[in-house]
């Protein structure tokens, strides 16, 4: 049986604004699932809070729409309880880098085998347009009326610097490429991070589709994603060009590989050894 993207479509109709970038992510995600022919009953999509975190409700797979910022720990919990399940954690830039920022480095350096997709719109959409941790300096919002003065976080550079073994960037306006990237992220063994530039058409009037379409460029064909320093450098290019593609990929023992390795060396205790000394 060959599955199609429709097999992953849920019964709920997305509540996103017409034109929201997150539609592109949903489509690419379903395409990727279909291409990998994953059983919907063996996928868990875990999210936090935010517009993009509504995504699990729109899929026919298992899902948890959880607490703001806590998607990664909950996703890791699912993976620990059942390592056979394909865990995809999704959410926005606020969920990942503001309220949940503390969890990201630890999931990454643990190299637990899951995929984390962050839809970056550089603004808080669900609460109607406040400044986000990925907003540019001087960006004006209702909570930064005279312009933001805090440096934006660069998600891909951040992920690589804290130890993610896969870091990529896509654009929700380029669904075919995004599908390839999601497939690569899911098939990567270990913590795979994917930033998706996903414009908020309602509240972000600066970082629009047009803004990104003029800048988004695939990484050069000769680029090799095996150098952390180079990867961070390329991820930080943001002026005239914003690169998309796989910035960094490394094969490394995953969390579960380590646990298996440790367990191999552990000698089981015999019942006799458990008996307390009688002297």
């Amino acid at each position: 049986m060959v599955r199609t993207a429709l097999d992953y479509k849920g019964k709920l109709k997305p509540t996103w604004c017409p034109g929201c970038g997150d539609f592109g992510v949903l489509t690419a995600l379903f395409n990727a699932f279909a291409r990998l022919d994953l059983d919907p009953n063996n996928i868990a999509i875990v999210s936090g809070i935010g517009c993009s975190s509504r995504l699990p409700g729109f899929a026919s797979t298992y899902g948890v729409h959880s607490l703001h910022g806590r998607a990664l720990p909950i996703g890791q919990g699912v993976k620990l309880a059942n390592p056979e399940v394909e865990v995809v954690v999704v959410g926005g830039d606020g969920d990942a880098f503001a309220i949940g920022g503390g969890h990201f480095p630890h999931a990454a350096r643990r190299n637990i085998d899951l995929t984390y997709i962050v839809m970056n719109n550089r603004i808080y959409g669900l609460t109607k347009g406040q400044v986000a941790p990925t907003s540019d300096v001087n960006f004006r919002t209702v909570s930064s009326p005279y312009g933001n003065f805090e440096e934006p976080i660069n998600p891909v550079a951040f992920a690589i610097s804290v130890g993610a073994t896969f870091a990529a960037r896509g654009f929700s306006g380029k669904v075919d490429q995004l599908t390839d990237l999601i497939v690569a992220a899911i098939t990567h063994r270990g913590f795979a991070f994917l930033e998706v530039i996903s414009p908020c058409v309602t509240f972000n009037k600066v970082h629009t589709y047009k803004y990104f379409q003029e800048k988004v460029t695939p990484l050069p064909a000769e680029y090799q994603p095996d150098d952390r320093t180079k990867a961070i450098e390329m991820a930080q290019v943001m002026q005239d060009v914003i690169y998309t593609g796989i910035f960094y990929r490394q094969e490394k023992l995953t969390y579960h590989d380590w646990i298996s390795k440790i367990m191999e060396g552990v000698r089981p205790v015999t019942p006799k050894e458990l008996v307390l000394s009688q002297k």
Binding site: L67, V142, S143, P145
Partner: protein, 395 residues
């Protein structure tokens, strides 16, 4: 500006922001969450426009917002924050700490239901989770009271007999997003009513001290006792502040409690927050039909007004508690505490507790009348009204 007292039609959130501005806080820290956002957006605009000289920081979570105002208050500043629901729950760890350190922060707890399932709509399950934190808790019935309560809150919090943080419960959307005419006091009046905060202990190089150090069993109980004592002192202070406010601004919406047509009432509804307004209207209607019905508003939930409640409603035959919360595994929180207030008293009225309006479900006239009918038939320990049986079928 602010030289003439004026009546204006404002959104509830804007009214709160205006009240906070008039109180001249030094530090504001917040994280956006629906339906609190308009309050902090308005304050953010006021700071940016130079109408309010305060440090306003947009932090990365509610835990950080609470922590930032804790730090500011410890340094001797007048500090303010606002949140709701999940954000409130995320603050909870810090709220205990804030009260324990005796820091008079004022917090607007916009009231919203809690997850799971996720809801953005109103009930008061969120702030009631802070029942035992040491926070003084006041609940506003309408937008004017919410505005006035903020001005009173700083005065109560900073009173040296109290020195506790104060939270103001304000129904999300029902109050925060509705427009009502409100009277805005002048800056001069508020300055006279609320002098600058004079901390007893604060972090200053002039007299170095450490707050919140680890204690051993020989100190901890006394520290908690003093916290309890401060809550007891707050009873008197809330009453005094409400009186002083009445003299200064000509408005009184109750102190620890407020009563409406209770004196000769045979049936008394009890509630908190905006639901009280609905109950007043229904009581008025029932009075016209010749039924002796009254309403008791719990304005201060902490300190809990045990004696005042008993005095106000012990003449009634039936007391009906209508509340938008549930202490799962027990009963509605208010009903539970009101029953406790009556233990060992004479003339105990019959009492029924109803859970209504969770997650934004409308509490209609029919809802309340159904509760009245049921309570007249028999006593209800804890009954949910308006349940949809179709949604309750076992799967």
């Amino acid at each position: 500006m602010d030289q003439v007292r004026k009546t204006v039609v404002l959104e509830g959130s804007r009214g709160v922001a205006e009240a906070v501005r008039l109180c001249r806080p030094n530090v504001i820290a917040a994280y956006p969450i629906t339906p609190q956002t308009h309050i902090v957006e308005n304050l953010s605009q006021m700071v940016a426009d130079g109408l309010l000289k305060a440090e306003n920081i947009r932090v990365e979570s509610e835990h950080s917002a609470a922590s930032a105002v804790l730090g500011a208050s410890a340094a001797g500043a007048r500090a303010y924050t606002a949140t709701t629901s999940q954000g409130f729950l995320l603050m909870l760890e810090v709220l205990y700490n804030m009260a324990g350190l005796r820091l008079p922060v004022v917090l607007t707890a916009v009231n919203r239901g809690i997850s799971a399932p996720l809801t953005i709509h109103n009930d008061i399950q969120d702030s009631l989770a802070a029942r035992d934190t040491g926070f003084v808790q006041l609940y506003a019935e309408d937008n004017q009271e919410a505005l006035d309560m903020h001005i009173q809150a700083f005065k109560i919090a900073e009173d040296h007999r109290v020195l506790l943080p104060v939270l103001i419960g304000m129904d999300g959307f029902i109050l925060t997003h509705s427009f009502e005419p409100v009277s805005l006091p002048t800056q001069e009046e508020v300055d006279e009513f609320l002098p600058p905060y004079k901390p007893v202990f604060y972090l200053t190089p002039k007299a170095p001290l450490t707050m919140g150090t680890k204690t051993d069993p020989e100190f901890y109980t006394e520290a908690r006792y003093m916290l309890h004592k401060a809550q007891q002192n707050a009873r008197q202070v809330i009453v005094e502040v409400a009186q002083e406010f009445k003299e200064k601004f000509g408005r009184f919406s109750g102190d620890l409690i407020d009563t409406y047509l209770t004196e000769d009432a045979e049936i008394i509804f009890v509630s908190m927050g905006s639901l009280v307004s609905n109950l007043r209207a229904i009581a008025q209607e029932l009075r016209q039909e010749g039924k002796k019905v009254g309403v008791l508003k719990i304005r201060a939930f902490r300190p809990f007004p045990f004696e005042e409640i008993v005095r106000a409603i012990s003449g009634a035959k039936i007391v009906i508690v209508m509340e938008k919360d549930i202490s799962l595994g027990a009963t509605g929180v208010l009903a539970q505490e009101i029953r406790a207030a009556f233990y060992g008293k004479a003339n105990v009225p019959r009492l029924s507790g109803f859970v209504v309006g969770l997650g934004g479900r409308d509490v209609t006239r029919e809802t309340v009348l159904k509760g009245l009918r049921l309570a007249q038939e028999s006593d209800h320990l804890c009954t949910f009204l308006d349940l949809n049986p179709e949604l309750l079928e076992e799967v």
